[in-house]
C-alpha cells in the first residue's frame, strides 16, 4: 500500500489510543506532554499532548481498509481489507486473551479476488464483519463474514475445486464461506451498519445507495445516486446519513430515502473523508485531497426531517489544524470536538480541538450569557464589589425605577436621593428643576405670569433679557476697606442666583441660609468660597476654622484660613505674588478659586470661571455677580456650548428645558444611555414644546419598553400615569368598549355621558353605594347585561365575595377610597371575556377560576382561554 493515503482510527474503548495505518499499522498512546509515561520518544501532537508509539504491525501488505473490533475484548483486534479482497484479522501489541490468539491471522477469502474497499463490524453482533469489494461479473460485492466460523471444506463449494495453497488449508485459518452474500455483479465502495436494526446494512454500491436487510436478503431498498462513497450514520440521528461523491456531500434521511435532503456546497477538489462528530450533535467534518483545512458543517439547527419548503440553516466554516497537507483525521470518540490529524506525508500528527462557536445573549437585566460547547457562562455585575467599578446604567435605572425615582413631584430635589444620591450631575439637575418649580409656584402666588415661561428657559435666556443692571462697590464686610471689585445687580441676576440656589426668594441677597446648609453638609471649602465671593472674608475664615475643628476635619483648612487672613490689595505685595503662584498647588478647587478671586484683576476672573471642577451652579452664580452685561452673555454662551458638548446635566441650569436643553440631554443620553433621567426631566418641561420633540418621545418610548422588558408593568403603568398628568396629550383614548348585545350601543358611553370615557366602568357597581349605582341592564335598551359565567349574576352586579382578597365592596358607601386594596376590588368588578370563546364575567371571578383551571368555566366549553393569552402566564417582576 505504498503511496496510499494514511488513515486514523481511534480505539473504541481506550480514549488515549489510536492506530495510524499507511503502509503498516502503528498503535499510539496519547498523553500530556512531560508525563512520565510519554517522555521517552514521545512525538509532540500539540502544546499539551504528545503521543508514544506502542506497537507496529507490518504483517499485512496491500492494506486497503482497516476496521477496529468494536467490543472491549479482545481490545486491539483489527480487520484489514487487502487489495486482493482478503480480509485478515490482526492485532497490535501483546494480547494474552485466548480469543484474540484464536482469531489472529484468520483470513476471509472471497471467491474472486478484487480489491476490498471497506469493512464494517456489526456494532451489536460483533462476530459479523461486512466487507465491501469491487465488482466481479459473477460474484457478490458485499460479503458478511462470521469471524467465529471455522474453515470447513465440506461446507464450501466442491472441495477439489479449491486450489488454495496448502499452507492456508492446513492452518485452518482460512474461511471462504461468507455468512451472507449481497450485491451480485456490483461494486461496493462503502458500508455501514444501521443502528435501527442490527441486520440492516447500508452500502454505497456502484451508482446507488442500497439498504440490505439480512432478514430477507432478496429485498433491498435502493436509490440511484452518484454519492456513494463514505456512507456514515450520524451518531446522534440514526436516520441521518452522509455520503459523498467527488466534491459533493449528500445528506440523506432514511425515512425519506428518495433523494438527499441536503447537498452541501461543492468543493473544487475531491473529498477523501467525511465524518460526523461523535461528541457534538449535527457537526460534520469533511476533508478534500491536497488540502490543509478541514471544513465543518454545523447542522445543529437544521430541522429533522427537513421540510421541502424551509431553507435549512447550515453554518459552514473551516479549521486549519496544521500547516501541512492533511492525510486524514479522526474525531476523538469521547473528548469534545477533538480530533487527531495526520499529515499526508511523513506521518506528522496533530492533536486538535475544534473551538466551538460562541453564542451570546444579553438578558434584559444586564447579565450576559454565552455558551461554548457544553459550557454555559454567565457574566453578571458583581453584587458585592461596589465602588470599584461603576454599575451599568441599566442596573442603575432598574434600581432607580424600583425606588420610584422621578416620581417625587413635590420635593423634586429628592429625586436625586432616590437615584442613589451619589451623582453630582443628577443632584444639580434635580435641584435646578426644584428651584425652577419653586419659582414658578411663587410667581403664581404673586400673579406674575410673565416670568413663568422664562424660568424654564434657563439662565442663559434669563440673563439675555437682563436690563437695568446696577453696579456697586461694596466694602469687605467686617472691614472698612473699600474694594475695587464691582458687583452687578438686576432682577434677572437675582432670579439666576435663586435658580443657582444661592439665595432664597425675596429681593435681598442673603446667602447666609445657603452657607449654613453647606456647613451642615460639611462642604467647608465651598461654603468658604461662597462667603468670600459675597465679600465676607471674615465669615470665610470662620467657616474654614469650623471646618478644621469639625469631626474628621482637615487641619490644613486652618492654614488656608491663615493665608486668607493675610489678604492685601496691594498690587505688588509678596502675599499676592505667592498666592497667585502657590494656589495652583491646592487640591481643592474651591480653595484654589478663592485665591484666584483675590489675586485677579477686576473683571478678569478666568481663574474662577473656567475652573471646571467647580460646580456649574457656583460658577454661574459667580458670573452673575461679577461679570458685566457684555461679558455675562458671552460667558453663558460659551459655558452652555461646553456643557452641551459633554452632555453635562448641570448645564440644564443654563439651557433650561428648551430645545437647547434637549440637545444637551441628547449628548448626555448618547454618553450614558440614561433614558430614564431624560424622560423624567423632559416631562417636567411639559408647558413647552420640548415634550413633542421626537428625541424626547423616543426616550420616553424606550424607557417604557425597558420597563416592559424588565416586566416592571406596574412601574410602566405608574410612569404612564405620571406622564399623562404632565403631558395630557399623551393620554391614550379608550380603546375597549362594552357594547350591549341587543342594541349594540356602548353601555359605558351612553349611560354616563361623561367626558372621561375611561371612567365609564366605574359606574357599574364600583363607585358609590352598590344599591344606588347598580346597573345591570343596558342603559340604552334596558335589556339585561350578560351574566357572569361563574356567579351567574348579571354583569354590573358588584362582586359580593371575592375569593382572592376577601374584601367586599359593599362596605364602601363613602367616597371612593383609592387605596391599593380598593383599586383591586374595583378591578374585580370589571368585565372580562375570552376573545376566542366569548365567555366571561367578573374579572375577579375569572381570575380566581383560572388559578386552578385551564378550561373555560362555561360547561361544555373546552376553550383553554388563559393559555391563549401568551403573556397571561408571565408574572410582573415588580409586583408588590
Amino acid at each position: 500500500m505504498s503511496g496510499s493515503k494514511p488513515d486514523i482510527l481511534w480505539s473504541p474503548h481506550h480514549a488515549d489510543r489510536y492506530v495510524i495505518c499507511d503502509s503498516e499499522l502503528g498503535l499510539y498512546r496519547i498523553g500530556p506532554v512531560g508525563c512520565s509515561e510519554t517522555k521517552a520518544g514521545a512525538l509532540p501532537l500539540s502544546v499539551e499532548t504528545a503521543a508514544t508509539l506502542l506497537a507496529i504491525n507490518s504483517d499485512t501488505p496491500y492494506m486497503k481498509c482497516v476496521a477496529w473490533y468494536p467490543k472491549h475484548e479482545p481490545e486491539c483486534l483489527l480487520a484489514v481489507g487487502q487489495a486482493n479482497g482478503r480480509v485478515v484479522l490482526t492485532s497490535l501489541g501483546q494480547s494474552h486473551n485466548s480469543k484474540c490468539k484464536e482469531l489472529m491471522g484468520k483470513e476471509f477469502v472471497p471467491k474472486h479476488a478484487r480489491q476490498c474497499n471497506t469493512l464494517a463490524w456489526n456494532p451489536v453482533d460483533s462476530n459479523w464483519l461486512a466487507a465491501g469489494l469491487d465488482k466481479h461479473r459473477a460474484d457478490f460485492s458485499v460479503l458478511i463474514w462470521d469471524i467465529s466460523s471455522k474453515f470447513s471444506p465440506e461446507a464450501s463449494v466442491a472441495a477439489e475445486k479449491i486450489r488454495l495453497s496448502s499452507g492456508d488449508t492446513d492452518s485452518g485459518l482460512v474461511v471462504t464461506k461468507p455468512l451472507y452474500e449481497l450485491g451480485q455483479n456490483d461494486a461496493c465502495l462503502s458500508l455501514c451498519w444501521l443502528p435501527r436494526d442490527q441486520k440492516l446494512l447500508l452500502a454505497g454500491m456502484h451508482r446507488n445507495l442500497a439498504i440490505f436487510d439480512l432478514r430477507n436478503t432478496s429485498q433491498k431498498t435502493f436509490v440511484n445516486t452518484k454519492a456513494i462513497q463514505g456512507v456514515t450514520v450520524d451518531p446522534h440521528f440514526p436516520d441521518r446519513v452522509a455520503s459523498f461523491f467527488e466534491g459533493q456531500v449528500a445528506i440523506w434521511d432514511l425515512r425519506k430515502f428518495e433523494k438527499p435532503v441536503l447537498t452541501l456546497t461543492e468543493q473544487p477538489k475531491p473529498l477523501t473523508k467525511v465524518a460526523w462528530c461523535p461528541t457534538r450533535m449535527g457537526l460534520l467534518a469533511t476533508l478534500t485531497r491536497d488540502s490543509n483545512i478541514i471544513r465543518l458543517y454545523d447542522m445543529q439547527h437544521t430541522p429533522t426531517p427537513i421540510g421541502d419548503e424551509t431553507e435549512p440553516t447550515i453554518i459552514e466554516r473551516s479549521v486549519q489544524p496544521s500547516n501541512s497537507l492533511i492525510g486524514s483525521f479522526a474525531w476523538h470518540p469521547t473528548s469534545q470536538n477533538r480530533m487527531v490529524v495526520v499529515s499526508a506525508a511523513n506521518r506528522v500528527m496533530t492533536d486538535f480541538t475544534v473551538f466551538e462557536r460562541i453564542s451570546l445573549a444579553w438578558s434584559s437585566t444586564t447579565s450576559l450569557m454565552w455558551a461554548c460547547g457544553r459550557h454555559l457562562y454567565e457574566c453578571a455585575e458583581g453584587v458585592g464589589g461596589e465602588g470599584t467599578v461603576e454599575k451599568d446604567i441599566a442596573t442603575k435605572m432598574r434600581q432607580r425605577a424600583q425606588s420610584r425615582y422621578g416620581h417625587d413631584t413635590v420635593q423634586v430635589w429628592k429625586n436625586h436621593l432616590l437615584a442613589g444620591g451619589d451623582d453630582p450631575q443628577l443632584k444639580s439637575l434635580w435641584y435646578t428643576l426644584f428651584f425652577m418649580k419653586q419659582y414658578t409656584e411663587d410667581v403664581e402666588q404673586k400673579q406674575q405670569g410673565s416670568k413663568q415661561a422664562l424660568v424654564y428657559s434657563g439662565i442663559k435666556n434669563i440673563v439675555k433679557s437682563s436690563s437695568g443692571t446696577t453696579e456697586n462697590r461694596r466694602c469687605w464686610s467686617g472691614s472698612d476697606r473699600q474694594t475695587d471689585v464691582p458687583r452687578f445687580h438686576s432682577e434677572e441676576r437675582s432670579l439666576a442666583l435663586r435658580l443657582c440656589g444661592w439665595i432664597n426668594r425675596g429681593p435681598d441677597i442673603n446667602v447666609e441660609p445657603f452657607l449654613r446648609s453647606l456647613e451642615g453638609e460639611g462642604e467647608w471649602e465651598r461654603a468658604a468660597a461662597v462667603a468670600l465671593f459675597n465679600l465676607d472674608i471674615r465669615r470665610a475664615i470662620q467657616i474654614l476654622n469650623k471646618g478644621a475643628s469639625a469631626e474628621r476635619g482637615d487641619l490644613n483648612l486652618n492654614v488656608v484660613a491663615m493665608a486668607l487672613s493675610g489678604y492685601t490689595d496691594e498690587k505688588s505685595s509678596l502675599w499676592r505674588e505667592m498666592c497667585s503662584s502657590l494656589r495652583l498647588q491646592l487640591k481643592n478647587p474651591y480653595l484654589c478659586v478663592m485665591f484666584a478671586f483675590l489675586t485677579s484683576e477686576p473683571g478678569t476672573y478666568d481663574g474662577v470661571l473656567y475652573e471646571s471642577s467647580v460646580a456649574v451652579t457656583d460658577r454661574v452664580a459667580f458670573a452673575c455677580m461679577f461679570l458685566n452685561d457684555s461679558q455675562l452673555p458671552r460667558y453663558m454662551e460659551k459655558l452652555t456650548s461646553e456643557m452641551k458638548e459633554v452632555g453635562n446635566l448641570e448645564g440644564i441650569l443654563l439651557t433650561g428645558l428648551t430645545k437647547d436643553g434637549v440637545d444637551l440631554m441628547e449628548s448626555y443620553v448618547d454618553r450614558t444611555g440614561d433614558v430614564q433621567t431624560a424622560s423624567f426631566c423632559m416631562l417636567k418641561g411639559s408647558p413647552g414644546e420640548v415634550v413633542k420633540d421626537p428625541r424626547v418621545q423616543c426616550w420616553i418610548e424606550n424607557y417604557r419598553n425597558l420597563l416592559d422588558a424588565w416586566r416592571f408593568w406596574h412601574k410602566r403603568a405608574e410612569f404612564d400615569i405620571h406622564r399623562s398628568k404632565l403631558d395630557p396629550s399623551s393620554k391614550p383614548l379608550a380603546q375597549v368598549f362594552v357594547s350591549c348585545n341587543f342594541c349594540g350601543k356602548s353601555i359605558s358611553y351612553s349611560c354616563s355621558a361623561m367626558p372621561h370615557q375611561g371612567r365609564g366602568f366605574s359606574q357599574y357597581g364600583v363607585s358609590g353605594s352598590p344599591t344606588k349605582s347598580k346597573v345591570t341592564s343596558c342603559p340604552g335598551c334596558r335589556k339585561p347585561l350578560p351574566r357572569c359565567a361563574l356567579c351567574l349574576m348579571n354583569m354590573g352586579t358588584p362582586v359580593s365575595n371575592c375569593p382572592g382578597t376577601g374584601h367586599g365592596t359593599g362596605k364602601s358607601d363613602e367616597k371612593v377610597d383609592l387605596t391599593r386594596e380598593n383599586k383591586l376590588a374595583q378591578f374585580n368588578n370589571w368585565f372580562t371575556w375570552c376573545h376566542n370563546c366569548r365567555h366571561g364575567g367578573h374579572a375577579g371571578h375569572i381570575l380566581s377560576w383560572f388559578r386552578d383551571h385551564t378550561e373555560c368555566p362555561v360547561s361544555a366549553c373546552t376553550c383553554k382561554c388563559m393559555q391563549l393569552d401568551t403573556t397571561g402566564n408571565l408574572v410582573p417582576s415588580d409586583s408588590h
Binding site: 474472486h112 479476488a113 461479473r137
Partner: protein
C-alpha cells in the same frame, strides 16, 4: 432486471500486426497513464490476426489515422445488465449465459448485431448507436432501461426514441454456420489493482507487443492446437486481463486477482480460420462475419444457457471467442456440434 445504457461512445478499431509499431506510444499512454489520457473505456485484444482496440472517443483521438488502422464506421454504445440485487437466481452460471435469453436472443431476432466484451468485472454488450431505438424497443419489456447521462441514470421509454425507430429490414436471415475452433490453451480471467499497474508494466508490454518474438520451446501461433490470445481492458478504472496460462506465468503471482478456485477456461473460437476480415470494410455490401452478422453470439450462447454453463465472450474485429469452464469443454464441444446439425435454434 435493469439495463443500463452507459455514457460511453465507443469506436471499434483494428490494428494489423505489422502496423503495431506505429501505435505503441498511444497504446502505452492509454494503458499506463490513465490520468493523462482521459479515456474511460479501453480494451485491447490480441489475436493471431490483429489487435482489436475498443475505446471511447477521447481515447480514439490518441490514435493517428494510418493505413494500418481499420475503423468500424459506427459509434457503439455499451449496455450493461444489472441484476438489481435480485440474487434469487438459482443458476450458478455466470457471464453471457445469464443474459443470453433475455438480451442476446431477442436482439438476434431483431437482426441487431452485437459486439460482446466480457471482463473480470462484468459483461458489456455493445450495440450500434443507430440500432438503439430497436434495442430499446426490443428489450423494454424485459428490462427497466436507464440511460446514463453525466453520471446520473434516467429511465428511458421507447416512445422517447420512436423517431429513430426502424426495423432492420430483413427478416430472420438464414444463419451462416461458422466453423468452430477449440484450441488447446487454458485461459484465465484475472484482474489487478490499477495502482499496481506500474509494477507489471514491463511484463505487460512484453506480452502485448513482443509476443511474436521467438521464445524457446514455444511454437509460433500458427500452431492450430494453441492460439495466441491476450486481452487487456481498463474500463472505468477497473482492469481485466484474459490470457493463457503460459502468459500468466510471466506475471508475479501475488499481484493478479483471480477466483480462489483458480478456475481455468477453454476457448471456443467461432470461425475456424482467419477469414481475412480486415479487407472487407472496403466492400460494404459484403457482410462481416462477426460485426455485421447478427446472431453469432446467440448461436453459441443459447445452447450454453440451455445447459447452464458459464461463459465469457469476447468479440474481436474478426472473430468471436467464447470461454467456457475447462471441465465443461467436452460437453460443450459435443453440444455445439450437435446443435449445428439441427438448423433451428
Amino acid at each position: 432486471m435493469d439495463l443500463h445504457i452507459l455514457d460511453h461512445r465507443l469506436r471499434v478499431t483494428s490494428i494489423c500486426k505489422n502496423g503495431l509499431v506505429n501505435f505503441t506510444h498511444p497504446l502505452i499512454k492509454l494503458i499506463f497513464l490513465r490520468n493523462r489520457a482521459r479515456c474511460k473505456f479501453f480494451s485491447l485484444t490480441e489475436t493471431p490476426e490483429n489487435y482489436t482496440v475498443v475505446l471511447d472517443e477521447e481515447g480514439f483521438k490518441e490514435l493517428q489515422p494510418s493505413e494500418h488502422l481499420l475503423v468500424e464506421s459506427s459509434v457503439w454504445l455499451p449496455l450493461n445488465v444489472v441484476s438489481n440485487g435480485n440474487s434469487s437466481s438459482s443458476s450458478q452460471a455466470v457471464g453471457v449465459t445469464k443474459i443470453a435469453k433475455s438480451v442476446i436472443a431477442p436482439l438476434a431476432q431483431q437482426h441487431v448485431s452485437v459486439f460482446m466484451l466480457s471482463t473480470y468485472q462484468t459483461d458489456f454488450i455493445l450495440v450500434r448507436e443507430k440500432d438503439l431505438a430497436v434495442v430499446i424497443n426490443t428489450l423494454e419489456e424485459e428490462f427497466n432501461i436507464y440511460r446514463e447521462v453525466g453520471g446520473e441514470y434516467s429511465a428511458v421509454l421507447s416512445q422517447d426514441v420512436h423517431n429513430g425507430f426502424q426495423k432492420n429490414g430483413k427478416e430472420a436471415p438464414q444463419l451462416t454456420v461458422h466453423p468452430l475452433l477449440i484450441p488447446q490453451n487454458q485461459f484465465c480471467v484475472m484482474s489487478l489493482d490499477p495502482d499496481t499497474l506500474p509494477a507489471i508494466a514491463t511484463t505487460l508490454i512484453d506480452v502485448l507487443f513482443y509476443s511474436d518474438s521467438p521464445k524457446e520451446g514455444a511454437l509460433p501461433s500458427q500452431d492450430l492446437d494453441c492460439i495466441k490470445f491476450f486481452s487487456f481492458s481498463l474500463i472505468d478504472g477497473y482492469v481485466s486481463l484474459v490470457m493463457d496460462t503460459e502468459a500468466q506465468r510471466q506475471f508475479p503471482a501475488d499481484l493478479l486477482f483471480t477466483s480462489s478456485s483458480r478456475e481455468l477456461w477453454r476457448m471456443v473460437r467461432i470461425g475456424g480460420q482467419p477469414l481475412g476480415f480486415g479487407k472487407l470494410p472496403f466492400n460494404p455490401s459484403s457482410e462481416r462475419p462477426t460485426i455485421n452478422e447478427c446472431g453469432i453470439v446467440a448461436q453459441i450462447s443459447q445452447p450454453l444457457a440451455d445447459n447452464d454453463i458459464s461463459a465469457y465472450y469476447i468479440s474481436t474485429f474478426s472473430f468471436d471467442h467464447a470461454l467456457v469452464p475447462e471441465e465443461d469443454i467436452v460437453s460443450v464441444t459435443e453440444m455445439l456440434r450437435q446443435h449445428r446439425k439441427e438448423p433451428a435454434c
